[in-house]
Amino acid sequence: MIFEPSIIADSLQHTAHAAADTAAAAHAAGGHGGAFNFMHLLEHIKNSNTIEFPFVHLSLPRFAPLHIGGLALDLSITKHVFFLLLGGILLFIAAVFAARSYKKSLVPRGFVNLLELIIIFIRDEVVLPNMGQAGLKYMPYMLTTFFYILVMNLCGLVPYGATPTGNIMVTAGLAIIAFFMIQISAIKSQGLKHYLAHLTGGAPWFLWPIMIPIEILGLFTKPFALCMRLFANMTGGHIVILSLFGLIFMFRSFAVAPVPLLFVVGIYMLELFVAFLQAYVFTMLTSLFMGLGMQAEGHEEHHSHSS
């Protein structure tokens, strides 16, 4: 998320042609000399191969795409990869620091208190109600999911930072892991036979050609919803902030700046809240889906009794 007007102005310089209606609107409202293309503001929530720092544009290494079959795999360290890794490193340092501090004293202090509050919250309010005692062995996964998403969400709220979770590929990656966790926990707790039997939905055999695709589709919709929800929430807030700043450029006047600024501060606060909320929602729903799979055994019996 970049708030530096100089950088936004910088992107304005790249405005060569106005194609979108926003640009037309800007043209209508605007004035002379160069049209404003709103799409160029959105460049800042997009992945790129440079990281913008004040006065410096850091170029990140580009790797030649790997060709596996027909798929081109570009493993370059892009802006989002950079913040993905940075967030991971920061989280690792913070968590290990907290773990170390407990070795000195059982009484938490300062920042460790916050970490402990969240950990206990996830254990007592998220994992235990949704998954029961059996869910405790998935606690490390839940905690990593929550904190990693939280750190990535917050990355975008720091000046010059970017939000990896605002990229649908990142949220897709997280959702793929969640998908496997949901399936693995379900197979582990009810056995492969029950798990496969559950895919038939307990319907009579002649309905299986319909039921099995539906159930399999159902398995994918849950993580897909997780992926879209997180992506949309993280992108949405940034687009609102950029749109508000875009007003300054559309009016071509610094006089209007205080008004969008005031709104942006409000939205920023909301973003801060949303960063925590979405991390919580992702974790909560993952544990809920895992819990559903783990308790499906009773559900299955219910099916066989009724049929």
């Binding site: 959105l42 991971g88 690792f92 773990a99 905690l143 990593t144 904190f147 990693y148 990142v170 897709a172």
Partner: protein
Amino acid sequence: MELLFDINPGLIIWTILSFLVLLFLLAKFAWTPILKMLGDREGQIRSALEQADRARTEAEEMIKQNEKNLARAEEEYQKMIREGKMLAEKLKDEIVVKAKQQAQQELKKASEEIQRNIDAAKLQLRSEIAGLAIQATEKILDETLDDARRKKLTDSVINKLPKN
């Protein structure tokens, strides 16, 4: 749309890779120790609370016992005082009775002594009076009586005298 839904499988790989590495590292170095510590601490707190509860019941029991002991001691003490008082009363009565008896005995003895003295004095007085009477008689008669007559005369005088 191309901007928002930028298809880049490399990023998915990066995400999954970094997540799995982070999961492994954090589970090993952070979450497991922290969760274990939290569990330990909860156990500690629970046991400390239970211990405190037990200690409180024990203390209450002790207070009750103490109160009971105190009440019993008080009762015993009251009984002791009562018994002491009764004993003292009895002793006092005995002493008084004994003293009275002794006093009466002494009084009796004393009065007997006095009586005896009076009797002796009377006897003496009589013999003295008799002697004087005989002397007077001798003077009147102007002759000395011999012993036999004197004795006879004395006895008769004494007998003639009033008894007291």
